[in-house]
Amino acid sequence: MRKPMIPAPARQSQYGVAPQFVTKRVAELPEMTSVMLSDLFRDTPSLIYPSDQGVAVVRDATRKALERVDMSMIKPEQSVNICASHHGFTMAGGHPYAEMLKTVRDVITERTGCKNIRLRAGVGLRFRETEEYIKAFGLDTHFGPHMAKGLAPIDEGIPIQTEIGTLYGLKAIYDADWIVHAHNSDVREVHFHRQVDRAVKPFGMSYARIETRSTYHQNLGPRGANFIARCIFTSDFVQSKFAFASFLDMSPAGVVGVDADNDLFALNDRMTVKGCQYYGKIMTLFGEIDECIAVLDFPCPVPYVFAAGVIYANFVGANTDLFDLDGTALPAYTWYTEAFYGKDGPLIDQIAPLNPAIRMCVHNYAWGGYPSAFFAEHIPTIVVGHEQAAVMSCDSQNVEYMRHALIAEDTDVAMRFAYRAARTDKVLIFDGAVGGVNVSRSLAELLVARAPAVSFKVDEVLLPKWLRQRGIDPVATLGMAAV
């Protein structure tokens, strides 16, 4: 058995406990081991990061990808907003995404002579989060004084006329002559976007005002929500400003490369296939877990801690096929599903229970800043440390979280209790370890044993179905003869 991998370090942030309160990581416990994704799935793509060369490879990959991009529309006297999102900074320590942003800026200046290039970094529901990243990764220094700015969905907005009516974007995203969409291909919230137009999502989310985001999560439906993003992106207004996109190309194991294109939908098609293929396998494998203790141990909100590219919110729904648009109308967890829980339980029969394999959740380290009480209400949860419990209780989005969760003095106490109460020794740790997943030995054995069959099933049955549901011909795309 391998040693556990080093988890992502605790991060200083106003949304979580200070790093000194994160005294022990669950991966440090003697019963833990790790499994590499490449050992589970032979088709795991090779990575450019992490590597011995550090982020220099990301810089080189970005430059190479941008060689294919037309920037002739940008004139020296004009302005450009490089639009970014918080999530990129949570992957592989955040340095690769920051490096891609810096390189995009440098290449635009070199190729066009334009110097008025700003960074506009949107957020989820933690309005100062990208301000923290801008400082932490030196983006304020690289872009220059007052050129790098964190945005929030309550900032001043502008109406955008779309083919379904008026939606609203953030004024500061569009206050330049040109915009560059700088994002990543990590599947992440497949329960929300369902891997339909994933590349376009920030136009309906981190670049959007509250009205648009509320439309996404309240006015559309569990499969059509991300249509909002397409509506905004394809509007005449946004098209008149869109220059190109640059994406950090991700797999569940780490950074695969950088992809860039003037045609966002062409890029989207490429990442739709790879997202279904690579993330589909690990998500399906996690769905095979029969029982476990889920450990949250990463600097981001409860639903977004991740293991091998799978966020906790998706593991909570791993008993359903999140990529299946026909068979899974409502994932076991998504906001529409949460909305449809009445006072006495689900309002309709189509709602699957939250993943029954999760016997208990140990919240060793995770932030507030995202409504998470639903998780603690439905999954037995132990929070480590009174300081961390206080973070949740003081968070306006999580006032009810600690009403449902227990508090343990430290990590050892929490895990001992969890083992006894959950009656399983299988542990899955969502700690952002890069390249694989930290787990208990018993769970490692299960994953290794089940992976070949899962890989075969995804390749031969599920992937062709998922692609067809998204209007992609699997035969033409994958060269598959038998589908």
């Binding site: 900032d155 939606l167 609203y168 369902r194 189509q350 003081c394």
Partner: protein, 201 residues
């Protein structure tokens, strides 16, 4: 229902009078007095928007000695009236419309029937929009509209701009155009209708 346990406090020595806090305050609790921001403690619901957007970091949230609960009873209104308003707005009465506070549509409907005729008044009475303040503006506007009220956005503010389309508003030609993209418009519409018509609570 929302437990309000904090209050925004402004350090007048640091406040630069930029007005951003008043523009993002969900309940219009912040006004400018002598070019400095001032919080009305009776209207502050501790959403934290002001603290999060203050450029000079002049605002912090202080714990209240006596937390207060924002809640509207549905039980002193005719059940049919509350239900009918929710359904007109496209919600099941027991449907959660605010993920931070777990506020249900029926409570917002009851607040509107009892006189909350703007998103700000709904927030003051129910706590809706007092968490993230992002995801629940459309339910408030849809329920108001279903009651015959078209509120006006706060003048000069960024609190909210307007109601946006729902699944029902998507034109047929648009649905047809994207039929093979996987958005499942009609299937989702049937799903939402099955929720609204559910007799469960």
């Amino acid at each position: 229902m929302k437990l309000v346990a904090f209050l925004a406090r402004i350090d007048r020595n640091i406040c630069n009078g930029c007005r951003t806090c008043s523009r993002v305050c969900t309940t219009l609790a912040i006004s400018m007095i002598d070019k400095k921001a001032h919080v009305d403690p009776d209207r502050c619901v501790a959403c934290g928007n002001c603290e999060q957007r203050c450029e000079s970091r002049a605002i912090r949230l202080e714990k209240l000695e006596r937390p207060r609960i924002l809640s509207v009873s549905i039980y002193d209104l005719p059940r049919e009236q509350v239900d009918a308003l929710c359904i007109r707005a496209g919600f099941h009465p027991s449907q959660i419309v605010c993920y931070c506070t777990a506020t249900r549509a029926e409570e917002v409907a009851a607040a509107i029937i009892k006189g909350a005729h703007s998103p700000e008044e709904i927030t003051l009475r129910t706590g809706l929009r007092s968490g993230c303040s992002v995801e629940c503006i459309q339910p408030a506007l849809r329920l108001l509209e279903a009651y015959g009220i078209t509120p006006t956005p706060p003048k000069g503010g960024w609190q909210w701009y307007g109601r946006t389309p729902t699944l029902k508003d998507i034109p047929e030609k648009v649905k047809t155009k994207y039929r093979n993209h996987g958005f499942c418009f009609d299937e989702d519409l049937r799903l939402l209708e099955s929720v609204i018509s559910s007799e469960r609570r």
